[in-house]
Symmetry: D2
Subunit: 323 residues, 4 copies
């Protein structure tokens, strides 16, 4: 279902090339200031048009149509609408004879029996992450915790320019790793079964297109450590630990230390190179290449989406813990 | 909250040293055969008492108290109860002055204001995974798909004995990686936002104690691949792909290829070695060591739990897709 | 929370005098025809401007902005937007010193700490029932069952004109009773605990503004019957009963007979007469009268809303039963 | 599904003649005192064996098996188990050729395809209300508000003895009306759409076996009142009203006045009289009479169940409001 959260809930709707996309937030406390300026920074961070990203310039301004009155939230469902413009459907028209490799075209066609809006990925499009980002701005404001996600690796290189250059040289797309850190988090958020903090954050992260892995603290690296190394010893009354291999979460519950996790972003599926895939009109494998605009490295645009999903998830966990 | 699933829902209750633990399944179709023999194999796979695991021999026989009549499920909520015996609370009594490193002792104490049942980890104990395993046996039976999870790495070694020996030599605990594969999966399960197959499976996996990472298909490895390598080309009408870097899931939806994912299991937190951690009676760091029974490598017992959670998650996704 | 339903879910947003109201439907199957003409009849039935209703003429045309492609549903969330126009806020401005008796003004102010959009009832306005009605058109189409609700009593009179005349003569508002019948319903929808058909339908009915009672079959009348009278004897293999005092629901489950229930609609709260109520500026009781447009008998417009809520509820129960 | 509540959630399991029934509460705050004595009064109020009720003497003592430690709640899921004894299945055996009129036998058989535990009504049995009652004791304790439900009418008579005598004289069963009142309720609980206080309470009430109607405040009587009569004028700063026709709920939200509602309880379905109903072995209508023990007036035992459901519902609404 297209909603997430128990007490702070987000609902998204819209398609890449539809008239209007939107997001409704339920559970927003009344009295939160809403200024369009507060959204600009995060909208900019997600925007294409920078090195390594698609030149499509989108109309990314949210229009507040409910839940805001006299510049403040009312406590009623808050809806932001976004108009889609600059959509060049002709770029996508001819892809109908091919299901693009790495994209949801095939599964969408099967799941929705051919009735799906296939233009530009439809409801599966990364375009919808603008909804998440703007919802995240509001969640961050309510939550009031320092959340920072950044790209720490591209194409296996911690020197991001070097990693990006690999893709440019190969005329191919590349992936990367985004790391997110949250500070000043109280002890006690999360539930042992089944809503551990890791469960809820991972649930949200894997809803972001292109994410294929999530790890907390030492993560997969923990599997190579001894218990005596991995255990974080408590060194004060408030539960501060000397190391943070747990990534701030023990037994599924926040332990008051920094939350740290990383997500794996696959290389952009749309590439300029010719690919061989099934042509479902000729019923044989054929050559196919993507003509449309696309990102060399979608991971460049992911950090702000990760932050938003983190804020949305943690806010719901906070409300749950504070009941 | 201590339940999981929309249409097939699991609820767990109980504590490591409480009188009775149990699990209730809601949404079980009527007419499914329930024989106690069907549970033995998976119960055995989870059991301690093998090399590298704790010698505590548990009473792991489920007692069916509701939802089963004349050997078949009725469609009403199905509850299995498990009696706890052989619980040596004295092993745990003295840990109250220390919050065991790597365990939930500290967070539980904070979250539940000191009222938690701390004996043996209480509600956070890995002991509760017997509930998941037995629920999984039923979910597997209803689902009818081949699901196989196995340990593919211990302490960084794909030769498992070699990895285990590392721990034995160091008198320390070790972790590992479990891989799970599901075959014959239909196309079209999962939802784009926010219940992608990855989201739901990861949510379930991170509810298993000791899991700190989850990756699908090429996972974190995908971040080092070019798009042209990572994209799985479709090679027939039914969506079969030449490679399976996506792990059988595209756009959050099953694509009919094998589902493949891996989970990272941290080294067991309870170790024989002396550790330095906060003593909350003397209010200073002190030396602490675990006297109780514990696993050298908890990862050895995790595969059957991963299979169970996978079956539970996929069954709910199937019911969702088939509505 | 502002959503309803497990597998077929409706989310509403908007305020009486806000720019745009909307409704998102999740769980809509793909391939359903959507023609604007299909909505006209139910929109007309709800419209004000008839005898006994407010003369405000609303812009009630839904704009489909997501989930519809080439005239058919896609399976993605379907959103309809409605623009508010002809909103005369000046009518409402002066009510701020009084909390209108019978209205949500006071509770909204308390619950939302004074930040609520109070214009015309804001998010509490009966205006939002247009969202329900249009969602209901789609639910009816998917469900495909004959659902009919009609007003059977106004002001205690089964002769509706006579009941309405009572209000006209008294220059006061009047209430009424709406009865809803659903035919061709299969056996077996609903759950014993806690989602009985009565539970789910009543939940939905009491979300309609002005509803203060719900009864099924013989309802409150059943309390005056003997068991031998009330019991519906089964007279054929398919479960047809000779009487239908149960209203088609036994043990919370549909029994295949006609579903029958009635809802009590209170008299319209806004009346032309002067009322004495608290003035929260002068801090004493004062005289207050409503200048704005209002319905003599809101019950006249309720049947189509009851039908819509019934369709929405039953569709969700059907999806639940058919899993 | 067999659970109810968002933040305070109740799950029930078991059958009338099964080995063990139980109830799990999720969301219980830690530190609440649990003494078995606290349960006795409400258990007694629900007990059969009084005038007008069945002589079956049940074993109604809850056994606390999880979520309680050292006499206090821990915050983990709290489970109470109840053993069934004194179950005379032979009373019920012969009813299999008839689906008892007024009972769920037929619908259960259809819904669960003949696999249901039909003994004594199985999962549909009123026996399960002991689970609700004991859960209600805990909810009441957490909520801390005065809740009182009482029978105000039997067989249409406000003189209860006179109403009961009607049934005795006619050798038939009778129904009644239960009224519930809650005081000291704060302003602001409930949500406009779709979780109005009426919606949530009615949802819970209609999950109680034999309830066929629910009305708030003036209820169905409101349909005969003018708006000027029905409107409750506010007479002080805190929202106290002169009348209480709204039953303490306006716009779906508590207004701080007494919550008042009534439920209609149908006459007991099991009667001694011979009834004519379908025999699904001979495939024709035949004569049938119930030999088992049964209540003359089940409504006598309903008030404590209504109180319990009220406490459970309001506690969840409180947690929702207080997020």
């Amino acid at each position: 279902m297209n909603s997430f959260g128990r007490n702070f809930r987000i609902n998204v709707f819209g398609e890449s090339h539809g008239a209007i996309m939107g997001v409704t937030l339920d559970g927003v406390p009344p009295g939160i200031d809403i200024n369009i300026e507060d959204f600009q920074e995060d909208i900019e961070r997600r925007k294409p048009g920078k090195k390594g990203t698609t030149p499509r310039v989108e109309s990314d301004q949210p229009r507040f149509v409910s839940g805001v009155f006299n510049g403040k939230t009312t406590g009623a469902p808050l809806t932001m609408l976004f108009e889609n413009s600059n959509t060049r459907s002709e770029d996508y028209a001819k892809t109908r004879e091919y299901y693009r490799p790495g994209h949801a075209d095939f599964v969408a066609s099967q799941k929705f029996k051919g009735f799906e809006d296939y233009r530009g990925g439809g409801h599966f499009s990364g375009r919808l992450t603008i909804l998440i980002v703007c919802a995240g701005v509001i969640a961050k404001k309510i939550l009031g915790l320092p959340i920072e996600a950044k790209l720490i690796e591209i194409a296996g290189e911690s020197d991001l320019d070097k990693g990006l250059q690999k893709g440019i040289d190969a005329k191919d797309s590349v992936g990367g790793i985004v790391e997110c850190r949250v500070n000043q988090i109280p002890v006690g958020w999360g539930e042992p079964f089944f809503d551990s903090v890791e469960s809820v954050l991972a649930h949200a992260m894997f809803a972001i297109p292109a994410i294929k892995g999530v790890e907390f603290g030492a993560g997969f690296g923990a599997t190579k450590m001894f218990g005596s190394e991995h255990n974080d010893n408590i060194i004060d009354e408030k539960g501060k630990t000397d190391t943070n291999n747990a990534g701030g979460i023990v037994g599924g519950i926040t332990n008051g230390n920094e939350i740290v996790f990383r997500v794996a972003v696959k290389p952009t599926s749309s590439i300029g190179k010719t690919q061989e895939t099934w042509n479902h009109e000729t019923h044989q494998i054929g050559e196919f290449s993507v003509k449309g605009r696309h990102d060399l490295c979608i991971a460049l645009r992911v950090p702000v989406v990760v932050e938003a999903m983190t804020a949305i998830s943690l806010l719901d966990l906070k409300m749950q813990a504070g009941r």
